[in-house]
Amino acid sequence: MAQISSFGGLQTSLRGLLAHQRMLDVASHNIGNADTIGYTRQTTTLTAAPGIAVNGATSGATNWLGQGVDVTSFNRMRDEYLDISSRTQNMLLGERGTTAEGLSRADAAFGEPSPQGLNALMDKMWSSFQTLANNPTDTGARAQVVSDAKNLTDAMKGVDARLAQIGTDAATEYAQLTSAPGNKIGAYADELAKLNDAISEAVTGGQQPNDMMDRRDLILDELAQFGQVSVSNQGFGRISVSFGDASSPLVDGSGTTSVATWPQALTNPGGQLGGLIKVQASINDYRSQLDNVAGTLASSVNAIHGTPPFFTGSTASTLTVNVTASTVVAGSGPGAASNDIALALTALRGSTGDRAYQDLVRQTGSDAQNAATMRDLSISLVNDVEARRQSVSGVSLDEEMTDLIRFQRGYQASSRAMSTFDEMLDTLINRTGRVGL
């Protein structure tokens, strides 16, 4: 049976004072970090201190007297499920956003339908063949054929160059992100490995390094925009991180020292990097289709035109007009008005080459449109999951204000309890035994 100290109550109220002070500290930390990116709201976990056994004065039964409150931990308010869905959605948004941007640039490179587009220029060339057929003796009509054909080949080179530029930009950005000196992914990997070790050290030492864990989660969030991130817990605060479809883990936390492995080859990593790879593949596809249009055009026109060949080159970038106004052939006959060749060339209008180009425009347009739709969908999904995540981890100033008031009142009440004990002890120490004095 334990005897209770008369001063025990003072200790109990002191614990209350200190606990409320800690809670005020945490609320103030939360308010201070309300706008810090990646900050997780912290809460204080309180538990009642273990009671001590007290025997009833007459019954002798054992009762337990509370000893006040204990601060057991400061917790980060996180929901791991929401973390994972947030990273997944951000990864998808990164991929779709990048794809949509690249493909809409490709769509704009064609710039159809427009009076200056390749379709209109092909139409113009066919029309000028028809004008030549109508006026086979007119040198002006020949010059017109040559200049319209040159406009077409120039424009085709232009479209091809713009497409190539989009592909190059995507490749450059990919290299900047992954392999250039000081690249982002590598920097993230290094920092993750360092944080992993620091956190593990702190956790093993019995600490709770909330702010380092926030930083590590923030990096994982950032990393998720660039590619698929999956995290596995290795115990003692360590994690291993796989990235995209890289063969080795980006950060291996299974050993005593975390190891970052970067750069690695990726084929379908998702995220912005995946988007950049997809953009390059689409651009290559578009360019080979445009080459096919140019090749079809060259071979069909040359087959009819005979010698000299009307076009040289068979790709969009090499297609060149090979004839001059004086070497354009309008007809096979000896007469000046012979126009059978010009008529046959006119009849090529709307044939395979034209149709292949029109189909290509439809494909680029619908690819870009789909990508934009998927991106918009992703934006709303990300907003949604971020909102849910914020409602768990974000700092609500209203809530913190309410807490501040609550904790302040608690502090005041604890100090009132302390003065009550003080007065009680005053009575005991200074007034007792003075009867008759």
């Binding site: 029309s127 006026n135 003796t137 008005a337 008529l343 439809r362 347009g365 619908s366």
Partner: protein, 294 residues
């Protein structure tokens, strides 16, 4: 959290408004193919068809011009043949004096030059009766009547897959070799016979030469009806092209252009929604618990 939602909504509203106002100000529903890939594809096809239609119009115009020149020339030749007939009938009369016959021969020579001039009719820089050798005059003025052109066909395209021979060649109508019985030969013989004044020659004026002239007139008429048929086809093609132009333009407008009433209504309702979001946001974001705590 609320402010993020609000921002996302406002951002979406502004991008919708930007799109609608772009449509209204440009009048185009399809800026690039991604706005409506199928529509854009259709627009490209329609534009190609319009361009083809326009080019065929130029073929029709060239045909009309060429045949009009040919027909005018042949009309003049028809009149010449009628006059030649009159003169030949007059000259066949035994009572005529030699000098009268010579006068008639002189007029016939003039008429023969007139026929050659008509046979050298040009459309632009091309001789219409010269076949494909259209830059060489088919006949030269003077005593030689050789045909300088060839028998090649002049072909024009007046519609998809529709080509049409638009010329008749001079050698079929006017001839080019002595003794071929064509118009120039008949007239040349008539002049020679008249000049000789021999009874047999004069007799031939009344017989074979008159018959020859009738046959020559038939040849000219046949050529004119051939040209008339070409003109009819060109006129048909012309009206078909005009109809197609209206129809294609209408379809293209339907595919490419904005329905203004719809677009403006949409724009104004988007603006209303945007303003509502702004004013609701302004009311909700501002107050906080701190305004009410003392």
């Amino acid at each position: 959290m609320m402010s993020q939602h609000l921002l996302a909504d406002i951002r979406r509203s502004t991008s919708e408004i930007a799109r609608s106002s772009n449509e209204v100000s440009s009048g185009k529903r399809i800026q690039t193919a991604m706005d409506d890939p199928t529509g854009a594809h259709r627009a490209l096809r329609l534009r190609a068809e319009l361009a083809e239609n326009e080019a065929n119009q130029s073929g029709v115009d060239a045909t009309t011009g060429w045949t009009t020149v040919s027909d005018t020339a042949l009309n003049s030749v028809t009149n010449v043949i009628h006059r030649v007939r009159e003169l030949v009938i007059q000259a066949g009369n035994d009572t005529l004096q030699t000098k009268d016959r010579q006068a008639i021969a002189g007029e016939l020579s003039q008429l023969l030059e007139q026929v050659k001039a008509d046979a050298n009719a040009k459309f632009g820089d091309q001789y219409v009766f010269a076949g494909q050798d259209s830059t060489t005059p088919p006949y030269t003025p003077g005593a030689v009547d050789t045909f300088g052109g060839d028998t090649g066909a002049i072909v024009r395209s007046i519609g998809p897959g529709q080509t049409l021979q638009i010329n008749v060649t001079g050698d079929a109508i006017f001839g080019g070799t002595p003794g071929d019985g064509k118009l120039l030969d008949t007239m040349r013989t008539a002049i020679t016979n008249l000049s000789s004044g021999l009874p047999a020659d004069l007799a031939s004026l009344r017989g074979p030469i008159l018959q020859g002239l009738s046959a020559n007139l038939d040849q000219v008429i046949a050529a004119r009806s051939q040209i008339g048929a070409v003109q009819n086809r060109a006129a048909l093609a012309d009206s078909r092209i005009a109809d197609a132009e209206v129809a294609l333009t209408e379809q293209l407008t339907g595919v490419e252009n904005v329905d203004m009433a719809e677009a403006i209504t949409r724009l104004s309702s988007q603006q209303t929604a945007y303003q509502a979001a702004l004013s609701a946001g302004a009311k909700v974001i501002q107050p906080s618990l701190m305004d009410f705590l003392r």
